[in-house]
Amino acid sequence: MRIHLQVRPILAALHSHKAAVVLLVLEIALTMAVLGNLVFIVYGNIQRAHVPTGVAESGIGLIQSIGVIGQDNPGTAAGNIAVLRAVPGVADAAYGGPPLWFVQSNPVFVDPSRKQALAKVYEFQGSQGLVSTLGLRVIQGRAPARDELPVAENATKDTEVPVLATQALASRLFADGHALGKVIYDGGSNPMRIVGIVDHLRGGITGRADDDYALVAEFLLGNQNVGGGFMIRAGDPAHLPEVLAAAAAALQKANPGHVQSKLYTMAELRENYFRSDLAAGRMLVAIMLILLVVTALGVSGLASFWVQQRRRQIGMRRALGATRGDILHYFQVENFLIVSAGVLLGALFAYALNLFLMHRFELAHLPAHYLLVGALALWVLGQLAVLGPALRAAAVPPVVATRSV
């Protein structure tokens, strides 16, 4: 009630400080525009960094074991997989790479003439055991059985390859929902038959819909000497680092002609993948803080100026019976009105800035609730910034009214 009654005199008082009020509103609006967009970018980055790839991430480790052409090496692919599986703590092992690690992305076709690519698809290829090592969840159909896997050494360009497709890819390729059993093609010549659907498998995490378009193919590897990525899945994720180190040592012992370049846990791959995004996010958070501090300085600067300018009037109001609380509220309401005006104008600015950023930096469209976050932040900031000056105003004794300034 009281606050409601105060609004009119406040507006009248503000009217006589038009210039400063307009500038303050403008400053708050600009802050709101930048803040809203920054919150959106930073939160988008953080959210993306937590999107799961769809594999059993906590247990997976990768050993990059590089074959040297022309160098003798006793190890074989099947032998290496057996060596890895024999390491205590290893639940499963396969030849092949995990998500977020140089996964090939290729166009996929549903017609053998390969005229029109329907999607770009992450292709995961590896040895027997790839699906179970990744820990994929097959929700429809089944994983390819061992006896139907194409034997790598005998495969020709016509050999049909059984594959698993993600649900997202299946519905992209076959809108009718009947993807199981269908044959699709990539740039190579082999037809691929979809024998199962997995819920999710993201080769990369960019925020686009085709992140979750993936195919998984197992080939039966035998006596060939292959280098590249070998994956293990630890039975107990808590012991992954030790298990991975032991597995790498065993693999190196079996392959003296290989170079072991690096070991990664899936967690490390994820960290590397998002490193620069998160770094950019930290920079933006620093900029946001600067912005909030500057705006707070502006608000409290002008508020203290007004308090000092109106000391006499405040004293009069106090002498006429206004309580300390009335004076405090007066400045708080005044601040709320100014910030609200700034927030409304700022919403417009925020959309304008968002259009510019969309055009120039391919940023997504700004959802309205980010503006609410910005508005809320500015309301709180405004109230905090005005509290000091308002308390000083409330402390003005009524006797000031009787003194000349």
Partner: protein
């Protein structure tokens, strides 16, 4: 004001007097002054930090040599290619790389690519490790001004004879041979024995203009091999970032000589504009000839960009840096609006004082000048305080795990830029408040005193 010097002296005196007034005024309103200075300092700190990063990232990687280095491009793609870029590919196919390399009309030229290879010292039981390499031709070193610690580049004769020689980086020489003069020593690269021809000093032009595939701010490779000997090696470690047209994007993964994949970078040195014109004509002629042979389907479409044009065209500055720079200037703008508001308030408070000065004969111009000088003093103070903030900001950028972190250092030229930016922007912010202050009517104010 009799003579001209008198006039100037008066002006100088007035300037000094206004400075004194500004100083007194700011000291009198310490809180308000401090808020203004702090706001400007924060805005300057943020914007100068990003300006310094941008400045360093868009610098000239080879000052003194960039004017004579050119990047030729031809267009070997099929006539119809859906979704194709209108610009010719950045890199060359194997065939074009060899043909243009043999074209021989440029004073210097270098064809190149990169991958990594297994290497070990030529001693029993020495461990194998992967090292990154740049495969190129002899002119690379002279053309780009690469400094040598020991030995020298290999010769064009070595290129022609597919000689197994290698030039090591300082760091790799340290790792393999303990850092001494290793010229003449041997190492095993992808099972073949190579002889060290030279060791180069630290060399890392930023942006890494000669190969911007995969980012222009990466590290240089650890060793340099003759291009044609490199192609002979028993290897399958990729042949650099490859782009293939047609349905199979991996057509060239195991065979770099396929027709439909581009992957080789090519640079030429052309010392005069006439040479550049001749070379461009030669590229057109080459394309026409390949068209006649049926290899090229498109009409000749060539590019011959100079080094700086090339970097411009490739937009090597990371998009996050460009965006952050825009945002930092947004912050500066907000800081200025903030300063305008505070100055309006501040000058308004001085209305009484200004009224007295006006009543005592100061013109509107005098009042305006005095207020503007006060704004300039605030800006200068903000700039001085902003410098350490920018320095702090750059330190923060350097701590980030980003490829361009090393480029974020404080350039002395940024010192001037920061102060100039601070003073100019605060003067700009001061214009309107000062104009308002100069409109103060003398009589009204004097009456209320």
């Amino acid at each position: 004001m009799g003579t001209g010097t008198d006039f100037i002296n008066t002006r100088v005196d007035m300037f000094g007097y206004y400075l004194d007034l500004a100083w007194r005024s700011l000291r009198h309103h310490q809180v308000l002054a401090a808020l203004m200075v702090l706001a400007i300092a924060l805005g300057i700190g943020a914007s100068v930090t990003m300006l310094a990063v941008l400045h360093n990232l868009s610098g000239n990687p080879l000052p003194g040599r960039s004017g004579v280095l050119f990047h030729p491009q031809v267009d070997p793609r099929p006539a119809k290619l859906s979704g194709a870029d209108v610009e010719p590919p950045d890199d060359l196919t194997y065939i074009d790389a060899v043909n243009l390399y043999q074209l021989g009309i440029a004073p210097r030229r270098a064809v190149m690519s990169s991958n990594w290879l297994p290497v070990r010292a030529d001693a029993p039981d020495s461990p194998l490790a992967m090292y990154t390499d740049r495969a190129t031709t002899a002119d690379f070193f002279a053309m780009f001004g690469v400094p040598f610690l020991y030995g020298a580049a290999w010769s064009a004769q070595d290129d022609a004879s597919h000689a197994q020689v290698v030039v090591l980086s300082r760091a790799m020489n340290q790792k393999l041979f303990g850092g001494g003069n290793s010229v003449g020593r041997t190492l095993v690269i992808a099972t073949k024995t190579f002889r060290v021809a030279g060791v180069i000093d630290d060399w890392n032009p930023q942006p890494r203009f000669y190969d911007v595939n995969g980012g222009a701010f990466g590290k240089p490779e650890q060793m340099y091999l003759p291009f044609f000997a490199w192609l002979d090696l028993p290897q399958d470690y990729g042949y650099g970032p490859m782009n293939c047209w047609g349905n199979d994007p991996n057509a060239g993964t195991h065979d770099p000589r396929v027709q439909q994949c581009t992957w080789a970078q090519f640079w030429v040195q052309l010392d005069t504009p006439a040479q550049a014109a001749d070379y461009r004509a030669a590229l057109v002629q080459y394309s026409a000839q390949q068209h006649q042979l049926g290899r090229f389907q498109r009409d000749p479409d060539v590019r011959l960009r100079g080094l700086l044009d090339w970097l411009d065209y490739k937009r090597v500055i990371p998009v996050t840096v460009r965006m952050q720079t825009w945002i930092a200037f947004g912050v500066l703008l907000i800081c200025l609006v903030n300063t305008v508001g505070l100055m309006v308030a501040k000058f308004l408070r001085k209305s009484g004082e200004i009224g007295v000065r006006r009543a005592l004969g100061a013109s509107r111009r005098d009042v305006f000048a005095q207020c503007l000088i006060e704004a300039g003093v605030v800006g200068l103070a903000g700039g001085l305080l902003g410098l350490p903030l920018a320095w702090l900001g750059l330190w923060m950028v350097r701590q980030q795990p980003v490829s361009f972190a090393a480029s974020a250092h404080f350039d002395p030229s940024m010192l001037g830029v920061a102060l100039l930016l601070a003073v100019l922007s605060s003067l700009l912010a001061g214009v309107w408040p000062a104009w308002r202050a100069s409109r103060v009517a003398p009589a009204l104010q004097v009456k209320s005193l």
